[in-house]
């Protein structure tokens, strides 16, 4: 028997707010979270801007000792998970904890921990390297720590697929509940790579925007003057539940997860398929999985990174997927405001997609000024729009040619 799956709780740590209410209000109001990097000295770096999480104190969510043995990305995951669990009023002692799982990934994992300990290794030798290095660094540890924190003893794993991680994690968790292997899942992504190695690596790959003189105008998805993504950080975590389980405990339902698609480009390590084939097949797979007709999709929460090639080929894929309907549906990129949260992007953007459906408000793509002939769809430029959204998809496309799409629908009995 296939189970219906609903979202009953959400938690975020983002560059424009460390709780869902603040995040959503700022997203709808078109507020940019981008500024100059404060976490390290960018003097020698070509990129000096990022969308940093502000005013995050791990001690608000865990004790000092726990915080010390967690990388920043895991601290974000713990914080967002705690808020999501609370939002869902999910009490582990009132449910079967062996039927509650965790599926949280990170695109890169504890890069900050690795940088710090590698410096110690080179400067002071192997004896001085912390025994916590590996458990802090590995990219599955958010799932491990969230299960320890919450007591969730069900299926526990993590997806690692670069910028598609968050979407894969929620999609895989959705399938686990749909097929009956769990009643509820804590799922999403977390990332913290605003670090020297993150900037040197992504910067030299020419993936990052160098619009250092205009931080808040740097992330401009689908605009002709776009020149790279702005790195963000944070976490986005949802509580997914089977409909029976949610109803039995009287949980508040935000939206229904109805479809999941994933494909591979089989093309290049960083460059998307220039025919948009992988993205097209991915969106179609999610829509088919949902049992929807493409014309029922009113909104696409785009991957929309603000790199020249992503936005061009994602647009192409949307047209191939939807035909004429591509010109009627609305598309927007949250990354115009929060930057690219890499492995956390899909988590945060799934939440934005669910809220778009719930509230009937589509957040805008800000910094949209100059039309690009390659990107000629309705990107909801600069101002949020009130609209009834029956169903929506959220796209994530990752280095390696990983494509993932979630389909969400307004919940109806």
């Amino acid at each position: 028997m296939s189970h219906r799956v609903v979202i009953t709780g959400m938690g975020v740590i983002t560059p424009i707010g460390n709780d869902v209410t603040t995040f959503w209000e700022n997203l709808v109001n078109g507020k940019s979270g981008v500024g100059y990097v404060t976490q390290f000295d960018t003097t020698d770096y070509s990129v000096k801007i990022a969308a940093e999480v502000k005013d995050f104190d791990p001690k608000d969510f865990m004790d000092r000792k726990e915080a010390r043995r967690m990388d920043r990305y895991t601290q974000f995951a713990i914080a967002a998970s705690k808020m999501a669990i609370e939002d869902a009023s999910l009490k582990m002692d009132e449910v079967d904890a062996t039927r509650v799982g965790v599926y949280i990934g990170s695109g890169i994992g504890g890069l900050g921990t690795f940088e710090q300990q590698h410096k110690t290794l080179l400067e002071k030798g192997p004896r001085r390297v912390s025994p916590f290095t590996i458990p802090m660094m590995i990219a599955n540890m958010a799932s491990g720590q969230v299960s320890i924190m919450s007591g969730a003893k069900g299926p526990n794993s993590s997806a690692i697929s670069a910028c598609a991680t968050g979407t894969h994690s929620i999609g895989d968790a959705f399938k686990i509940i749909q097929r009956g292997d769990a009643d509820a899942m804590i799922a999403g992504g977390a990332e913290a790579t605003i670090l020297p190695m993150g900037f040197a690596g992504f910067g030299n790959a020419h993936a990052l925007s160098t619009r250092n003189d205009d931080p808040q105008g740097a992330s401009r998805p689908f605009d002709k003057e776009r020149n790279g993504f702005v790195m963000g950080e944070g976490a986005g975590i949802v509580i997914l539940e089977s409909l029976e389980h949610a109803k039995a405990r009287g949980a508040n339902i935000v939206a229904e997860v109805v479809g999941y698609g994933m494909t591979g480009d089989a093309y290049h390590i960083t460059h998307p398929d220039p025919q948009g084939d992988g993205g097209t097949r991915c969106m179609l797979a999610a829509i088919n999985d949902a049992g929807l007709d493409p014309t029922e999709i009113d909104y696409i929460n785009a991957h929309g990174t603000s790199t020249e090639i992503n936005d061009k080929f994602e647009t192409m894929a949307v047209k191939k997927t939807f035909g004429d309907h591509a010109y009627r549906l609305a598309i927007s990129s949250n990354k115009s405001m929060i930057g690219h949260l890499l492995g956390a992007a899909g988590g945060v953007e799934a939440i934005a997609t669910a809220l778009t459906i719930r509230d009937g408000v589509i957040p805008p793509t800000i910094n949209y000024e100059f039309p690009d002939p390659d990107c000629d769809l309705d990107y909801v430029p600069n101002e949020a729009r009130k609209a009834k959204v029956r169903a929506a998809i959220s796209n994530s496309l990752g280095f390696g040619g990983h494509n993932a799409t979630l389909a969400l629908r307004a919940f109806e009995q």
Partner: protein, 82 residues
């Protein structure tokens, strides 16, 4: 001896997030102060650095159970280094 104890205490408070008054010579590092095996290794590495000690051999570190054991070990090492 008192100086060594105070420095050890400071390190333990910092690393194990315990209250200073909990760190007595008799307190068990695992049983009373809540350390796990990784905490103990971390503590030992930091003690070596703080007190400029030679690498603590595994058979010695296994004998370290209480805060007092740490202080005694450090004092003994300092004597030998002289």
């Amino acid at each position: 001896m008192a100086d060594t104890f105070n420095r050890v205490k400071e390190l333990i408070v910092e690393h194990l997030d315990v209250k200073p008054e909990e760190v007595t010579l008799e307190a068990g590092i695992k049983d009373d102060l809540g350390a796990d095996s990784l905490d103990v290794v971390d503590l030992i590495l930091n003690l070596e650095q703080e007190f400029d000690l030679d690498q603590i051999e595994e058979e010695d570190s296994e004998k370290i159970v209480t805060v007092g054991d740490i202080v005694t070990y450090i004092e003994k090492q300092k004597q030998e280094q002289k």
